[in-house]
């Protein structure tokens, strides 16, 4: 690695892997400074390149943060798969949900970035595909929990909403009742909610008549 010293050694004019280096640096900067404090120039500084170099690879801030968000979705997908570990049945959904919450609590700033930042182009193919893959994990787990492959969009929305909601509320923290201090206890706070989600998905019976 290069030294951080102001101008110690003559860096090569061409960085080599600046694209990837910038994305990794950007993740750190976002985590440290928050979405609002993020700056392209700070990323360039840490990567040891000129202040305008990021622009040539990503166009603008949105371009770089969109890539960060897309990789976030990929990591979310991987985390859920890892938690599920091939298991089927109701436990599949429970594990997927726990993976989702774990990811959110482990990387809260990037989790918020992925879903809510107006500096991310969520409609871009890159982001869309990564997001769809993550959603696919949930679809699969819900089907396995129901023991029924028919796709019930209402059910999927319900499950996703509840999982997403508990993750978001834990990440945002202060609104949780009775001292929601986020260190360590948060994961367990989600347990009851996750159990209820699974229970609802497994045991839900379509109401006889709906207006």
């Amino acid at each position: 690695m290069k030294t951080d010293a102001p101008d110690a050694e003559p860096r090569p004019y061409h960085h080599g892997g600046l694209f990837d280096a910038l994305v990794k640096v950007a993740e750190d900067v976002v985590r440290e400074t928050g979405i609002h404090g993020f700056s392209l120039r700070e990323c360039a500084r840490r990567a040891g390149v000129a202040h305008s170099a990021p622009g040539h690879h990503f166009g603008d801030i949105t371009g770089l943060l969109t890539e960060v968000a897309a990789r976030g979705f990929e990591r979310l997908t991987a985390r859920m798969q890892q938690h599920r570990a091939g298991i089927e049945g109701p436990e599949a959904l429970e594990r997927i949900a726990r993976g989702y919450v774990d990811f959110a609590l482990g990387d809260p700033v990037i989790f918020v970035l992925m879903f809510h930042s107006d500096r991310v182009e969520r409609g871009s193919p890159r982001c869309q595909r990564a997001g769809d893959a993550a959603f696919g994990e949930l679809v699969s787990a819900v089907a396995s929990a129901k023991g029924d492959e028919t796709r019930d969009n209402d059910m999927l929305r319900f499950a996703w909403a509840a999982i997403h909601g508990i993750a978001m509320l834990l990440v945002d923290g202060p609104l949780m009742p009775a001292g929601g201090n986020r260190r360590g206890g948060s994961g367990e706070l989600a347990d009851g909610t996750i159990r209820r989600i699974v229970h609802s998905v497994v045991s839900y019976v379509e109401p006889a008549s709906r207006g």
Copy 2:
């Protein structure tokens, strides 16, 4: 020299109600430009005062946006009460949930601001109190739906998470399955989820043995 504005109205040196005027203007600016595009100077411009005037009332950007967020929670509370209209029982929860989602869809940018912006000091007494009041509406509705005043924090988290989650996913839009185009149909997309939430809260039975 002023007269930068075309209107020849001789504004009084003292605005009179600049605090309130700035908050209202700020809400508009946030809605139009998004959280990222927001700027104090634009607010000052629209309020017809010097660019540094907002600083005297709010300190910095966070101060102003925190006030905007707090008023958002107050409007959310009012909206839920208005939807509920004094009704009791399971329908109370259904109506509260619908009010929550309505508010989110009607003012999506401010809804996101309230929960996720790092430019809002959510721990401030102003914000905390307004948020607690909103949460209180939910607590009351869940109790009414259960027909049981005992407070079940797990249940509350589940209900809030699910409601919050569906609102957030609808606001963020593009991740919804099967063309979640947000035009008009979003409210109905929430219906099935809300029905399931109410159903789960009303009919949930504590699992026999579990920690």
